[in-house]
């Protein structure tokens, strides 16, 4: 993890970079930074924060203030670079036409439209010609206010005008995929306007942000890019005593815990619980890891002011075992990687032990003061998401119903009977716009049941979905315990009358449910419909996908040696009388939510 203080990051940039590039499995990406001001420092800091997230960027930088020209006049260097992500680093200084004092509102609106048209022409060209994901700064505010407070009140005031522009940029973001706002209006407030822009750096280097503000900007942009690559965290593991409430439940009893509006410290714990609850509501999985007797620990949530309830937690470890051991069990229970977990504990010794023994787990230095816990989590941008999709909101329910399924399994004589009892139905179909965000999310964060571990940006997934040279399939699965959501993705490239499987992955929450067979049945149907008789499977080993080493053999493929680009090749000849392999999943043609 990088140091917290911006000055320390600036001071040790070279040494930090040297350490970070030594890490293995860095994900490469190409980023074009198109600047309305000087961008060298932005690039340097962004590189550092991305490396810290396991992403190795290669950069293109536009010339000074050539953010629009490079795109509109198709700078050959930029086109040759083929960026996967374009970051447009503009600020209030790049607005060309501010309103005149006393200008009427309709003229001001013309100016809003003029500025938006200018920016949109750049965005649209990037979308149509480069196919890259766009990250666009919204507008910060100038430090000087010649009109004083009228700047905010009057439509011709610059503050009012910039906020109007921000509203239009947000509206564009809502209606266009692959477009993300880097919210520098918020960042400049967080840093403080006086520290955000330093005239010394502006006049001498044309840096629109001071060096310390540049660190904040880079951290935020890296957070967005991390989410594009599905590297955001999924699960928050929490200690209990003095983390979710003040006091020690085993010693003090539930009635004496500090929690609630009656006490300053209790109010701070309550607000932290509310923050955690909000994370849970938008799809972050919660788990407890506490040194306590189980019954004592559970009793804490019966406190009348506890916002968090037992059912909010998808895993609950309260015992006297070492915390690293418990966290490993939580990861196994939830079928998630340790690198998806953030651990919060007020006790520095416990944090240190977990950080030392489980290096993949993020262990922020939250300190002992509950009033800063949420701020520390926010600062690290652990849970940044591209979009919140419906499946995210149901995530806790998925994991809770998985526990019910496991409990239910013991009641059956054999596994087939258990599968039959689940009353499973599947919706499987070609990629469609409504699911593209979730498909991209799954492609970028599925590690274990993933045959090739290939990653694609939203732009690439959208392009593939429109390309007739590909067979694409998504799969949703529901059963009598609930809807598992969109859990599987398959991409096949059609080459010379055969399909080469570029991507095949499945969420671990539906392992051993025969859903991979249902996906294969759908693929075989697609092949038959197109007169294709051969399927070529590829297995590219990664650090985490060992569980699928025998997958193709299990489905009925035959080994065909090594692939030229590495990995194992497998062949499957689709018989004309192909009969479905799955026995326990019923395929529905309408949307699954409507079907059940």
């Amino acid at each position: 993890m990088l140091p917290t203080a911006a000055v320390e990051i600036i001071r040790n940039r070279s040494a930090l970079k040297k350490e970070l590039v030594k890490r293995s499995n860095l994900v490469p990406t190409r980023i074009a930074i198109l600047g309305g001001s000087t961008t060298v420092e932005v690039k340097n800091m962004l590189e550092l924060f991305l490396l810290a997230q396991g992403i190795q960027p290669t950069f293109y930088e536009s010339g000074y203030n050539r953010y629009s020209e490079d795109v509109l006049y198709e700078n050959p260097e930029l086109w040759k670079f083929k960026p996967e992500i374009v970051f447009i680093h503009t600020t209030w200084q790049n607005v060309l036409e501010y309103p005149e004092v006393l200008e009427d509102t309709s003229r001001v609106e013309d100016r809003v439209r003029g500025e938006m048209t200018r920016f949109q022409s750049v965005w649209e060209k990037i979308r149509s010609e480069l196919g890259a994901v766009i990250i666009q700064n919204n507008f910060d505010l100038p430090r000087l206010r010649p009109l004083g407070n009228l700047e905010a009140a009057q439509s011709f005031g610059r503050v009012n005008f910039l906020l109007r522009l921000n509203s239009e940029v947000a509206s564009y973001a809502r209606s266009h995929s692959l477009f993300h706002i880097n919210d520098i209006l918020y960042l400049s407030a967080e840093v403080g306007l006086n520290a955000w822009l330093d005239q010394n750096y502006w006049y001498n280097f044309h840096m629109a942000l001071s060096p310390t503000a540049t660190v904040a900007l880079a951290r935020n942009v890296a957070g967005i890019i991390k989410s594009i690559y599905g590297k955001s965290k999924k699960c928050l593991v929490l200690d209990l005593d003095n983390t979710l409430w003040g006091g020690v439940i085993g010693d003090d009893g539930v009635q004496n815990l500090l929690l609630g509006r009656d006490h300053a410290v209790g109010e701070a714990f309550l607000d932290f619980q509310r923050y955690v609850k909000n994370l849970q509501r938008r799809g972050i999985i919660l788990a407890v890891c506490s040194k306590n007797d189980l019954e004592n620990a559970k009793e804490g949530f019966s406190h009348p002011d506890s916002v968090l309830k037992l059912e909010d937690f998808s895993a609950f470890k309260a015992n006297w075992n070492a915390k690293p051991e418990n966290i490993q069990e939580i990861a196994a229970e939830l079928n998630i990687g340790l690198d998806s977990i953030v651990f919060v504990d007020d006790n520095p010794a416990e944090r240190s032990l977990v950080a030392e023994q489980l290096t993949e787990v993020a262990v922020p230095d939250v300190g002992p003061d509950v009033t800063v816990f949420a701020e520390v989590l926010e600062r690290e941008r652990y849970f940044e998401v591209e979009k919140v999709v419906a499946d995210d909101l149901n995530r806790s329910a998925f994991y809770s119903s998985n526990a019910q399924r496991s409990a239910n399994q013991g009641a059956f004589a054999n596994y087939g009977e258990f599968l039959a009892s689940l009353d499973m139905s599947a919706e499987i179909g070609p990629f469609c716009p409504v699911y593209l965000e979730r498909i991209t999310q799954l492609i970028n964060k599925t590690n274990q049941f993933n045959l090739t571990a290939r990653r694609y940006t939203s732009a690439e997934v959208e392009a593939i979905s429109r390309d007739a040279a590909y067979i694409t399939l998504y799969g949703r699965l529901a059963d009598r315990f609930g809807d598992n959501g969109l859990v599987s993705v398959l991409i096949g490239r059609i080459v010379d009358q055969r399909v080469e499987l570029d991507t095949w992955l499945m969420s671990c929450r539906v392992l051993k449910r025969e859903f991979e067979l249902a996906m294969f049945d759908a693929l075989a149907e697609q092949c038959q419909a197109r007169g294709i008789h051969k399927i070529v499977g590829v297995y590219i080993p990664s650090k985490k996908n060992g569980m699928v080493v025998e997958h193709y053999a299990n489905v009925g493929f035959t080994s065909a040696g090594k692939a030229p680009e590495g990995g194992d090749l497998w062949h499957y000849d689709v018989p004309s009388n192909y009969s479905p392999k799955t026995r326990h999943i019923y395929r529905v043609t309408e949307a699954l939510t409507a079907a059940r």
């Binding site: 000055v7 600036i10 001071r11 040790n12 940039r13 070279s14 040494a15 060298v40 420092e41 340097n44 010394n200 750096y201 001498n204 280097f205 840096m207 060096p211 310390t212």
Partner: protein
């Protein structure tokens, strides 16, 4: 910050082994002396010594010793 500490910071900024710089080196002959190094120096002078350097002042600096003086570093090396 003492002069020795400042020189060590400069070693770090310029990615040189600790103890390389003595003060008499010409800036134009230092490989990594660029805008990033300059900005880092300005940030450190401000945060460590509370000295605000205007980059235009650095135009008049020719050696590392000139920077030492500009950054408000004490001459004693203890």
């Amino acid at each position: 910050m003492t002069k020795d500490q400042f020189l060590l910071e400069m070693d770090n900024i310029l990615e040189l082994p600790a103890g390389t710089l003595r003060g008499n080196e010409k800036l134009e002959e230092l490989n990594n002396w660029d805008s990033t190094a300059l900005i880092t120096l300005i940030v450190l002078a401000e945060s460590n010594n509370n000295v605000r350097i205007n980059p235009s002042q650095i135009v008049n600096c020719f050696t590392v010793a000139d920077l030492v003086k500009l950054a408000g570093v004490k001459e004693s090396s203890s």
